[in-house]
Amino acid sequence: MSIELKNINKQFGAFKALDDVNLTIPNGQLTALLGPSGSGKTTLLRIIAGLETTDGAGQVLFDGEDVVQTSVRHRQVGFVFQHYALFRHMTVFENIAFGLRVRPRKIRPSREAINQRVRDLLKLIQLEGIEKRFPWQLSGGQRQRVALARALAIDPKVLLLDEPFGALDARVRQDLRRWLRRLHDEIHVTSVFVTHDQEEALEVADRIVVMNKGRIEQVGTPDEVFHSPANQFVMEFLGNVNLFHGRLKGGRNDFDSLSFDPADDGASKPARLLVRPHELAIHQQQTNGHSVAARIIRINSAGPVVKIELARNDGQSVFVELPHEMFHAEHFRVGSDVYVAPRHGRVFTEDYSI
């Protein structure tokens, strides 16, 4: 089922949580709402679910049908809460069966059908054999999967997950998000999840909605938002960046027209260059074009790449990531005076405000 949001506004006291948000979530995809805390992503998710109301004349359309007046009870959404919200006094089995047991008698499945459905779901979440346990007897990852099975039991039109991996250990997080991705490939229900972790969004989602201060900054595939960020906020939020100030010559807004020479000749305009750590090279000598003098102050080679921290002459830090082979080919030492040169980068002019 597709979801369409039109003119969604939400105010909490003096705080504007959502500022005229418009968004279309296509059928069958796994979409991530990504943003820092306070960006409105969870509020947006709760509005889709019907757990929160919109201010004014905002519309929430499920397959073209306005559901703003439909209560959460009748929206048929599967909602997975950040802290799972499993019913603490019910067994795993009863938790998963809940949504079927509370149906009106006319549409309630038979006892046998409910048992079968719960067994199928336990198999799907790979937790067969724990149906008699209580939530407190489960690990965090198990609780998360039970919460997911409980939401799926009602055959939701859309699955909504609020920070699904937020409360888990780093290791369990990794496993569980890959598992969620595979699960989605299996069941294909339209899913939306909220996260503040860009790595999680990039790895799991089909589409990413980057949010900031109640507005949507960019919508796109992981590749699009990572490689073609719409603005400086998106670029900075999706990974580490180095910032260089420079000036643009000629009328063009691209990397080649940027010069680090700060002199204002009247014809150029100020701009900022954002470069990811892996897009920087380090040279022993000054090269033509873009390069900036810096001194190496820290080297960390314990990891998949070598992380090097440098200080520019004006004191600003620069972070560079080099493959081990490239690092070992040169003889960089802490204290070496070198030149850093961006190989790629995105140019944002000063008049853009974030």
Partner: protein, 269 residues
């Protein structure tokens, strides 16, 4: 050494102030034998006092159960203006002397009171009658259930309720299947304390009762009258019932406390 000193002091204190009086009640009650003891209890005035006490708590406890549930639900699950004022108001009966609680009702419903004329015109008696006793008891005991529930419900939050709604439950199903089971032990704990206080209340009830023997005397009031008449055996016989009630309350309270503790441990795990 310090440990044993402290333990002995505590035990001695408990002995002097709890066990000895309790034993004294029982020995006084049985001083003239079991026959006199049961005579004291079977006296029509005593039977009437016991019945009135039971009736009063049978009304006051359910009333405060409903009020406590409503108040704690509102406070724990919703945000509204004046919430902290409401929490403070719930504690009012703890802060006010029971005698004053009783006087408030005399002030409101007595013959000289605010609604006195209207009530007497319509032939309704509240003060010096059973309704006054019930009202005063409800007032004195209303914090007990709410006080037990509010912290627990606040800690539990409302996510489980929201989950139940999103799974298609209606309001009643949500309450019966999710909210109530989550708070049942705290609720029971509050009810036990509320009941103990409702049966034992003296001050507020004394002001509004009028002490009409066989009609508006509750057990504590009846005991006082018997005692003032030097009828010690009968007085202590009725008192022994209240003492037994206290012991039963303690046992129930410990069991329920143990269950609550277990549930808290469980939800932390």
């Amino acid at each position: 050494m310090v440990k044993w000193t402290l333990i002995s002091i505590t035990l001695a204190f408990l002995g002097v102030f709890l066990l000895v009086p309790l034993a004294a009640v029982m020995t006084e009650a049985l001083r003239k034998g079991l026959g006199a003891y049961f005579n004291g209890l079977q006296d029509p005035a005593a039977v009437s006092a016991i019945k009135l006490t039971l009736l009063t708590s049978l009304i006051a406890v359910p009333a405060n159960l409903v009020f406590g549930l409503a108040a704690s639900w509102a406070i724990a699950k919703f945000e509204f203006l004046g919430k902290s004022l409401l929490i403070t108001l719930i504690d009012l009966p703890f802060a006010v002397s029971p005698v004053i609680s009783g006087l408030i009702f005399v002030e409101l419903f007595g013959l000289q009171g605010l609604f006195g004329h209207w009530l007497s015109d319509h032939n309704i008696r509240i003060i010096f009658a059973v309704p006054g006793i019930v009202l005063a008891t409800i007032f004195v005991t209303f914090p007990f259930v709410a006080r037990e529930m509010i912290p627990l419900m606040q800690e539990q939050g409302s996510e489980e309720e929201q989950a139940a709604l999103s799974l298609g439950a209606n309001g009643f199903q949500m309450f019966r299947r999710v909210t109530l089971p989550n708070v049942k032990w705290a609720l029971l704990y509050g009810v036990i304390l509320c009941n103990a206080r409702a049966m034992g209340e003296f001050g507020a009830v004394s002001v509004v009762s009028g002490h009409v023997r066989g009609q508006t005397n509750t057990m504590p009031l009846h005991i006082e009258i018997l005692y003032n008449e030097y009828n010690f055996v009968a007085a202590f016989a009725v008192a022994s019932l209240l003492a037994v009630l206290a012991l039963v309350t303690l046992v129930l309270k410990s069991i329920v406390e143990w269950r609550i503790h277990r549930e808290i441990e469980a939800s932390k795990a």
